[in-house]
Symmetry: C2
Subunit: 405 residues, 2 copies
């Protein structure tokens, strides 16, 4: 049973509950969009202020004495345990789109005799667009198949398989180890998009034997709006070659050497001068994961989304649950279908329950395990069922389109 | 004559002098490294704080109501006049390295039958490395020639010419219009690297008829450590095709459309989610250029560097001036050669005169016209001549290598 009292009891018993206090989140806000933009950790504002102070006071000397020069390495060391890899396999740089381009080109080059990039139908736009660009540039073609037919679609033309571990719309979660093994059995390389996974569910790229992965740090990792992406290049790959070779990817950047000599490991993908302000916020945001067991994160994601699905079934029976009903096949999000999804979400936001909308007809609710309370599930469904029952969403104000959300 | 009194008078008569007050720069600091990391404008800290507040309080709604969604367009509008192009031709995104990769691939694609990328010997490492990566990827080869033989080296294999308008080491400045015309006469496309130009000297890409350009915003544009780069794709080019196609480069990002439909103009190069914190600092930093005439900036750059060269000649005769002696062929920097350049620069920095060092033997002094006082030139040479005369640089402390500067 998922009555309010029961959910409140689960919050009291939740071993991760204390982590919410490290974030600045209004108590009365039901924030179910941390899968789109994570909230701010308490320490972040002070760190940003300090970085701004260092720039102002130390100027160029900040590169020596304000810790800027090894910021990317420090962040890689914080991120690696969440990904199940070593720090040398992680590079925090650029946007996720650029990282994905780099990963796909590097993977494609390791399978020069094969000409297909296999992707998922309905995958995140950037993944589809970037794969198209890489195909054009490297003389390959993109083949799209439904998520559940990826393994079956691999043949001896398949160079690279790109898949979202958790789908951005449905929240469907792949079995990372099984898909990677199938891809390798077919002789292809595996590139994972972890944008909706890291910080939400357990990721273990080392155990999966993944080749490359990319992800996003402004969602479940709470790095702030437009925070950098990251790229994982597995240590078992011999010398992957970056398409983009910037000076910070050189083994000795400040030698200004004539020839390109890539830094060891994933650091070769660093490219340009690191974005110090954004990285500083991210470094601080990642401190919240110290001592957090990824298995407990995933268990809470499953419990939260189970409770939400059960309450929606019980109280909003007319709404279709689009996400998998088996929590082991789901990320930390649940999507519901409604023909007026946009307006319904606006009505929810007006009541302080913030999720988002994905065209044409999905309401998307994220349940980041470090910041979501079980009782938030109750309030979300309480408001949702009232809005549906009263058709409170059916006013012109809630149909008016905003620029983004 | 360039005695101290004369230089102080020039400061009093300098129409740009008041701009320095808009920056937070200690009065006793002689900061001649704004060509590496520009100082902080007074308003920046407050804007950064406000962006952090908006993230914390508005969360995902910040994309609607905190002005994040059109931040890149607003910055393009501020930057365009400094470049001599329209806002639609400018895209502020990613690092300069990534922007350069995008520009070179797009240019190469517009000359598919030609196979050489012509670059300058001794150009900035990223330019050389990125050109190498683009050549590998697009089946071209890189040919390097001395800066003064670029035009002569163009033949019917030349697809693209990449040149630094102002050289990062010597400060040599090309005639933008003449080089671009020679490149076009040879049937090739012109890509300018403006990292050491914009904000230092007059740039007029429209008049030059340049095809692409890239640049850096953390030097003379004062965007902060690791601030984003920018890319210019001239309107006269028909539909350049980005190699990297991220969702923010789509004409309708939030439609999550199946097919790639590039945004009009340079906005198609936007790629991933814009880095809001870094861009906010940059937007504020660019306000200082309102009403500033690029010709007056260049005139002051020429006057400052002329004064510096004359004083160095007069007081430090044993040191070689590596930069061109004709100010019309020079950026806002002067480089001097000394066998112990690193240690000499450390000795200068210890006295509060901050320039930088470029291996193996260059001392580099930048004179950003908005923040440099004529009297700074006096103090720099005064300290420099003393350090040389007393060999104050010749101690182990000044030979100890720092991570960066």
């Amino acid at each position: 049973v998922n009555d309010r009292e029961m959910l409140e009891r689960r919050d009291r018993e939740d071993p991760l509950a204390a982590h919410r206090d490290r974030f600045l989140l209004a108590d009365d806000l039901i924030y179910l969009d941390g899968n789109s933009l994570g909230p701010q950790l308490r320490g972040v504002h002070g760190r940003l202020t300090a970085a701004s102070d260092a720039w102002r006071e130390r100027l160029i000397r900040g590169w020596n004495d304000a810790g800027w020069v090894d910021l990317t390495d420090r962040i890689a060391a914080r991120l690696a345990p969440l990904l199940g890899v070593t720090p040398a396999e992680v590079c925090v740089t650029d946007s996720t789109s650029v990282d994905l381009f780099q990963a796909l080109v590097a993977a494609r080059r390791l399978r020069p005799d094969r000409t297909t990039l296999l992707i998922e139908e309905g995958t995140f736009p950037t993944d589809r667009y970037v794969a198209g660009g890489v195909a054009d540039l490297t003389g390959a073609e993109v083949k799209s198949v439904p998520r559940d037919r990826l393994a079956a679609a691999i043949d001896d033309t398949t160079a690279v398989v790109l898949a979202s571990h958790v789908d951005y719309r449905t929240g469907h979660r792949h079995d990372g180890a099984a898909v990677t093994a199938a891809v390798h059995d077919g002789g292809a390389l595996m590139v994972w998009d972890l944008a909706h996974s890291t910080g939400a569910v357990a990721v273990d790229l080392g155990r999966w034997r993944a080749d490359f992965a990319v992800g996003c740090s402004y969602k479940y990792l709470n790095g702030g709006p437009g925070a950098p992406g990251y790229l994982v290049a597995a240590a078992h790959l011999d010398d992957p070659t970056p398409a983009i070779r910037g000076w910070f990817g050189h083994a000795r950047t400040f030698d200004f050497a004539e020839d390109w000599d890539p830094a060891p490991g994933a650091a070769r993908f660093r490219n340009g001068t690191p974005p110090v302000l954004s990285l500083t916020a991210l470094e601080e945001a990642l401190t919240v994961w110290e001592g957090v067991d990824p298995a407990s994160v995933q268990a809470k994601a499953e419990a939260l989304t189970n409770a939400f699905v059960a309450l929606v079934d019980e109280r909003c029976g007319e709404v279709e649950v689009v996400s998998p009903r088996d929590a082991r096949r789901r990320g930390a999000q649940v999507s519901l279908r409604h023909p007026d999804a946009y307006a319904v979400m606006q009505a929810l936001i007006a009541r302080g329950v913030i999720g988002d909308h994905r065209p044409p007809d999905l309401l998307r609710f994220g349940f980041p395990p470090l910041t979501t309370r079980f009782v938030d599930v109750w309030h979300a469904v309480e408001n949702f069922s009232e809005i549906l029952a009263t058709r409170a969403w059916d006013t012109p104000a809630f149909h008016r389109r905003n620029p983004v959300i």
